[in-house]
């Protein structure tokens, strides 16, 4: 019998999702969720080349179709008879660059659906009696933008601050399941490339510890999932290479 528990990762084909999956492979089985099926399939084939003893399940799902998320996820677990799930990491998120006056109500609904509510729906499944006794840890991705403003980032800031508040409330209700979040600074990943080549270089000098990588983020996600973090819940960890604390270095 396979005793390794499953970790559910949303946004699994992102750089952070992949970096985390690589770290988890030897110790856990994985359920990878993301929007694009073929990207998921390619990601899994790459992971299997690294370690093929890990059981990796996957499902393509659109988190903006929020009313279907809970049922779709539950049906998936039932179909494959997966009961031993010990963790959830919610990496999925969008970060539209929109000045306040350019935002429309649908934009606000969409970012809340994807960045927060999809995880809420998945958590509601994972705290049902058949799953809750195996669940140990939920980790979200907030952002340094939940602590400071930025141009054309207002919806992102609000959605990430909402995650940090959710973590506080959920940790109280779901104990002993631990619920935490990290707040990364500006990490150089594929999703940042839309800002142009010099974006990361421009901002790296503002970080006391230089630019951050997806692996830096995976390290702390791994820690928060693990028993090493067994006395930590309801917390936000700022992981920004010293960006925010350096704010007065003008």
């Amino acid at each position: 019998m396979d005793e390794k528990s499953y970790i559910v990762i949303t946004g699994a084909t992102s750089d952070m999702g992949i970096a985390l999956s690589k770290q988890l492979l030897p110790v856990y089985n994985l359920i990878l969720l993301d929007i694009n099926e073929s990207t998921l399939v390619n990601t899994i084939s790459m992971l299997k080349n690294i370690n093929n003893t890990c059981n990796i399940m996957y499902m393509a799902i659109d988190f903006n179709d929020i009313s279907a998320v809970g049922k779709t996820f539950q049906d998936f677990l039932k179909k494959y008879n997966i009961l031993n799930i010990s963790g959830l990491v919610h990496i999925a998120g969008i970060a539209p660059v929109l000045p306040l006056k350019s935002t429309e109500i649908e934009d606000w609904y969409k970012i809340f659906n994807i960045n927060l509510l999809s995880a809420v729906e998945i958590i509601k499944v994972l705290i049902k009696k058949q799953y809750k006794y195996n669940m140990k840890s939920v980790v979200f991705l907030s952002s340094i933008y939940a602590h400071f403003g930025g141009k054309a980032q207002i919806m992102y800031t609000v959605s990430k601050a909402a995650i940090e508040a959710f973590v506080m409330g959920a940790s109280v209700e779901l104990a002993p399941i631990r619920v935490n979040t990290i707040a990364p600074g500006l990490v150089k990943t594929n999703s940042m490339s839309v800002y142009g080549d010099n974006y990361a270089e421009q901002f790296e000098s503002k970080h006391l510890l230089g630019g951050g990588s997806a692996e830096n983020i995976a390290d702390i996600l791994y820690f928060l999932l693990s028993e090493k973090a067994s006395w930590i819940t309801g917390q936000t960890y700022i992981v920004d290479g010293g960006l925010s604390v350096n704010a007065l270095n003008l």
Binding site: L98, P99, S102, Y195, G196, D197
Partner: protein, 72 residues
């Protein structure tokens, strides 16, 4: 959309009280700052369904460059 309508919408996007003409240089406009650039990208993406990247905006010097990119 024709050029006249486009320039009217552009005036609104850039929050400019006076008319915008094709030959205007972006740098000379008080309203042209990084937030205006982002409003322009949002306008292209949402209203014109054209993906406009920050690097492309950086290359634009005149209103005419914007019109060309919009394919008008």
């Amino acid at each position: 959309m024709d050029k006249v309508e486009f320039l009217e919408k552009l005036q609104d996007v850039l929050e400019r009280d006076e008319e915008i003409t094709e030959d205007m240089i972006l740098e000379d406009m008080d309203e042209w700052d990084s937030l205006a650039a982002m409003a322009l990208m949002a306008f292209f993406n949402k209203t014109l369904s054209i993906t406009l990247l920050p690097a492309e905006v950086r290359k634009m010097k005149t209103v005419s460059d914007i019109i060309n990119k919009a394919g008008i």
